[in-house]
């Protein structure tokens, strides 16, 4: 079973929604696929308790003529087509132009106790909470880096969690310097003020790092290294994330060149978002972390380009460049510091799929050498967590992935259109 679209967009977050809507407005036959059951991506993930933000509702409502392919997970590339797993089996999608709007994932860094039940990513716990995971009455510490901590905290509070504190690793000087820059971005300043208002009464500490999580079978308390010394804080949940890293695995699988000028590579694109592979564009976080505004503008640029309207794309470049500057500002002021990089001990697990401690990796030259000897990165996540953490810690760059992009049924890898259970159902 093969379906063809003039424009196929991978990822239905802000960038993908903008790309799909824009390309469709030019009359293209557009498919917008996402592994999740609903459009919105991570930042606009559906919240069971409340309506989506207006921008999200508008972006989704604007999808005239776009086929939304929900629960479609791209797992491999087959001769110019994408092999996609769906709940009932798998399908092949081909395209005239492809837009990669694969977004970003959270940067998780190892520290003693980070594998205890009750410890999760900040964005991870926010996503679970939006989906209805009960946090009401739970004492939560939010920690890590960047403004996403505030967004996560706001969601947790709206769902009834008791926020014990928000601990930003960046120094007070750095955060205040960032805040001063917000004057140039009034919309962002308003957004930040609104978030802070939602979090009134919650301590927000700078230069503060969760050094260790304690507990026997589950998290009991966290040890925090703050501006005024070390403290122990009782809590039920710890949500800790150090910002975002681009999802480049699909681009890499398709042969698109990556920019490795940073521990976490991003897709290399030209001014008009063309990758090194003809007919493949990339937009938003996959091209380097820039935030929501960048994602929306670049999505629109990629949508124009995919539909063959270069002039329309070009007209958006000044706005895009301005938004990218804000992303650069964020990166500069919230980058994880040396203290964070030094948290893990040799005994701390680095690869959670294969239970490999950091100390086991001493003496290996690169990710593949270490993987062969220790299995670090050999598990189901293919090094998305440990490989990214090791790159951030300056050990070695993450090794290349292998198909499938995400764990997939063997039947899907075999190119079977329907799963056997489905086939047997349809035959009865």
């Amino acid at each position: 079973m093969t379906e063809r679209y003039d424009v196929l967009v991978v990822g239905a977050g802000p960038a993908g929604l903008a790309a799909a809507g824009t390309a469709a407005a030019h009359g293209a036959r557009v498919g917008l696929l996402d592994a999740q059951p609903r459009a919105g991506g991570q930042v606009w993930r559906h919240d069971v308790r409340k309506n989506a933000p207006r921008a999200a509702r508008e972006a989704i409502a604007a999808l005239h003529g776009v086929t939304l392919l929900a629960q479609h997970s791209v797992i491999a590339s087959e001769d110019g087509a994408l092999r996609v797993e769906i709940p009932q089996g798998s399908t092949l999608l081909t395209y005239g132009a492809l837009v990669l709007a694969t977004g970003a994932r959270e940067l998780l860094l190892p520290f003693p106790g980070w594998t205890l039940p009750g410890v999760s990513g900040a964005g991870g716990l926010q996503a679970l909470t939006k989906q209805g995971w009960p946090v009401a009455g739970k004492r939560v510490v939010v920690a890590g880096s960047g403004p996403l901590l505030l967004a996560a905290a706001a969601t947790l509070r709206a769902h009834g969690a008791k926020l014990v504190g928000i601990h930003e690793q960046a120094s007070a000087e750095s955060v205040h310097a960032f805040a001063r820059q917000l004057l140039h971005w009034p919309a962002r300043a308003t957004q930040a003020a609104l978030l802070r208002a939602k979090l009134a009464g919650v301590p927000y500490r700078f230069g503060s790092v969760v050094r260790q999580a304690h507990g026997e079978d589950a998290l009991r308390l966290v040890e925090i290294d703050g501006a005024h010394g070390t403290s122990l804080v009782d809590c039920d949940l710890l949500a800790v994330g150090y910002g975002l890293v681009p999802n480049v695995e699909l681009a890499q699988l398709l042969g698109c060149a990556l920019d490795h000028g940073h521990p976490h590579p991003h897709v290399q694109v030209d001014e008009l978002l063309r990758t090194s592979v003809p007919a493949i564009l990339a937009a938003g976080e996959a091209c380097g972390i820039g935030g929501l505004a960048v994602a929306r503008i670049e999505g629109a640029i990629a949508g124009h380009m995919a539909a063959g309207h270069q002039d329309d794309a070009r007209a958006l470049l000044p706005e895009r460049d301005r938004a990218r500057r804000f992303g650069a500002l964020l990166a500069r002021h919230f980058a994880p510091g040396a203290r964070v990089h030094a948290l893990a001990t040799p005994q701390t697990l680095i690869c959670r799929c294969e239970d490999v401690p950091l100390g086991a990796l001493d003496g290996y030259a690169d990710a593949r050498d270490a993987k062969l000897a220790t299995r670090c990165g050999m598990g189901a996540c293919q090094g998305r967590i440990c490989g990214t953490a090791l790159a951030e810690l300056g050990r070695f760059p993450r090794g290349a992935g292998r198909p499938p992009l995400f764990p997939a049924r063997l039947a899907t890898l075999a190119g079977l259109a329907l799963s056997s259970s489905d086939a047997s159902r349809s035959s009865t």
Binding site: L372, A380, R409, A411, L413, G415
Partner: protein, 368 residues
């Protein structure tokens, strides 16, 4: 310029080179090992790690039998991840069951325990096999290992005895009385070329083809299958000369993961996973174990088997030379036969009588 002198310069630290370095250092030789990539990072890393006696070639059987006895010394080594799951050869149809009887007799004569199974016994051992199988043959003492870590263990053991590892160095050329490295330095002494598929770069007179294979590994599903499973027709794929072939060859890892193979292609030179070949291979596997279809695959990869024209490895002196040796070309049996190959070669190098007849593996057969 100073020249480092050795009793043996082992070129290549795959499982075969590592075993040779280990055996040579145990023999008291001063050994150098030259490896441009990770130890055990080529075909060794891509391999299934199944220790198996193939009986269709008497010479190969003798080498496998000899080698399998030595593998027993690694049964308790943590790094080897040795798991004695046994090999279960599955017969589809009465003809294959009859061939199983012949094979069991041959293996038995060589001292390898093998039991014939009727259909009922087969399904008791492996309930997930598709209906309609006729029976099979169980070789209960065979095992699976994790080859790259064994290669690393062997190299480390050799290093502990004084062997020198030239890591990240490549042999540029064989020179009279030694080898020249890519940094221009010279190592002097007899050389042993164990570079697998890369053999022609140093010894173009010995033909070698790279035979591509695919493997897929699943998430953890302990108990779905219990033995290394192969179809009795596997030898037709492994030893046939078809440009491409697949065979049902599925392994339970000690982790509970399932490793699925196997494919063979001569003309494919690109290391990318081929969707068409993967499909063919997996469909073959599904036809034997339908439950595999719904399991989650976590990774697929390819590797290249070093294959000589007659399928037997080159073990012995390079034709016309007295101080150049070769151990390469084990096709899909490099892990099984590495230890025996190393012993055989060391006996030849030290001018001792080998435990098995070396003639079938002599590289001079290519000069004839």
């Amino acid at each position: 310029m100073s020249v480092a002198g050795y009793d043996l310069i082992v070129i290549g630290a795959g499982i075969v080179g590592a075993a040779c370095a280990d055996a040579a250092s145990a023999d008291g030789l001063r050994v150098a090992i030259v490896e441009p990539g990770p130890v055990g990072g080529g075909a060794t890393a891509a391999a299934m790690g199944h220790l198996v006696a193939m009986d269709d070639d008497p010479a190969e059987l003798a080498l496998a039998r000899y080698s399998l006895r030595q593998w027993e010394a690694f049964a308790d080594l943590k790094e080897a991840e040795f798991s004695r799951c046994g090999t279960l050869w599955v017969a589809r149809g009465e003809n294959e069951l009859a061939s199983a009887a012949t094979r069991a007799a041959r293996l038995g004569a060589a001292g390898v325990e093998a039991q014939l199974l009727d259909a009922q016994q087969l399904y008791e051992l492996e309930p997930e096999l598709a209906p309609g199988m006729s029976g099979g043959m169980l070789v209960p003492r065979e095992a699976v290992v994790y080859p790259p870590r064994v290669a690393q263990h062997l190299v480390r053991r050799a290093q502990a005895r004084g062997a020198v590892l030239y890591a990240g160095r490549r042999v540029q050329a064989l020179r009279r009385g030694g080898a020249q490295l890519d940094d221009g330095s010279m190592l002097s002494g007899p050389v042993l070329v164990a570079t697998g598929c890369a053999l022609p770069a140093l010894l173009p007179q010995l033909p070698m083809r790279a035979r591509k294979g695919h493997l897929v590994i699943t998430d953890r599903y302990p108990g779905v299958i219990r033995h290394q499973l192969l179809e009795l027709g596997y030898a037709d794929s492994a030893h046939g000369d078809a440009d491409s072939s697949v065979a049902f060859n599925v392994q339970p890892r000690p982790t509970g993961q399932i490793l699925l193979g196997s494919s063979r292609e001569f003309s494919a030179t690109d290391a990318a996973v081929s969707p068409a070949m993967l499909r063919r291979m997996l469909e073959r596997c599904f036809s034997f174990v339908p439950a595999l279809r719904e399991l989650q695959a976590v990774r697929a990869w390819t590797g290249f088997r070093p294959t000589t024209p007659d399928g037997r490895p080159y073990l012995g002196a390079v034709p016309g030379s007295t101080d150049q040796w070769v151990a390469a070309g084990h096709e899909g049996l490099g892990v099984t036969t590495a230890l025996g190959s190393a012993r055989l070669l060391l006996d030849l190098i030290r001018n001792r009588q080998p435990a098995i007849d070396p003639a079938p593996y002599s590289p001079s057969r290519m000069a004839a």
